[in-house]
């Protein structure tokens, strides 16, 4: 079941509020790395109490940034990027998208290059 919190027009507020917290962004990073984790698996990689992780996950669920799938009695958490996409649709024009993508790729490429050089 999905929570009702995100249903109304304050859906976007819930997304921004959820993303404003660093711990919650770390949780999303964890799911981005490996999608569909249980609470236990998420706790292993984070320096937070189980209670704190639970609390943050509920907020992320309410913002519809985390989707839940039940596998038997196991609750699996998935990163749901649809609301983030909706935010980008609001401010990014249709002709800007591929230029932004190119700039993003360039930044990523250059930065990866830099790290590689440092390592050497």
């Amino acid at each position: 079941m999905q929570p009702f919190g995100c249903v109304l027009s304050d859906a976007m507020n819930a997304v921004f509020k959820a993303l404003a917290d660093e711990s919650r962004r770390k949780l999303l990073d964890q799911l981005h790395k490996s999608n569909g984790q249980t609470l236990g698996e998420l706790c292993e990689h984070l320096d937070m109490t189980r209670q704190a992780v639970t609390k943050h996950l509920l907020l992320l669920e309410a913002a519809n940034l985390v989707a839940i799938v039940w596998r038997g009695r196991e609750k699996l958490h998935y990163l749901n990027p649809v609301p983030i996409h909706e935010i980008s649709e609001r401010w990014i024009g249709k002709y800007e998208r591929h230029r932004l993508q190119a700039l993003g790729d360039l930044k990523k490429g250059l930065e990866e290059n830099k790290t590689n050089k440092k390592e050497k």
Partner: protein
């Protein structure tokens, strides 16, 4: 049950029937899914195909489950690489005056290229679908 790889949910101010039609009827998909269409009679066991505007088949598969307007499960493969088959489930649930759509894409074969391709596509398609159903106009989902 294997753990699905990708799960997306979106809440849309519409009815389950309209949402079902938005997925299954070419006249609707054309308006928000980058002019693509989904073609089938949507009966269990039937073939389904995802076409571009030139009617070329981009994705093909079978209808594995079909319970309008609640649940549609499809197998999903590139016609040029049929062995790389996966499975998509659309689940539609009415919640007050909204409809919640959950798309689960999983059962990817080991080393599948499809997972990487669709993980960029689904969020675009789903937010465009939401905009289309709520405003009558889809988004431009391809960055040409």
């Amino acid at each position: 049950m294997q753990k699905p790889k990708l799960v997306y949910t979106t809440f849309i101010r519409t009815t389950p029937k309209k949402l079902w039609a938005a997925i299954t009827k070419p006249e609707f998909t054309r308006q928000y899914w980058g002019e693509m269409t989904n073609v089938s009679d949507w009966k269990r066991g039937s073939k389904w195909e995802h076409h571009n505007p030139e009617n070329e088949v981009w994705i093909t598969g079978k209808v594995l489950e079909s319970t309008p307007p609640k649940r549609l499960v499809l197998s999903w493969a590139d016609p040029d690489d049929l062995a790389d088959k996966s499975r998509v489930a659309f689940e539609i649930e009415a919640i007050e005056d909204m409809t919640c759509l959950t798309v689960t894409h999983g059962s990817f074969k080991a080393g599948s290229k499809m997972a990487g391709k669709v993980s960029r596509g689904w969020p675009r398609v789903l937010s465009s679908m939401k905009t289309f159903l709520e405003t009558g106009k889809g988004l431009n989902i391809f960055c040409k």
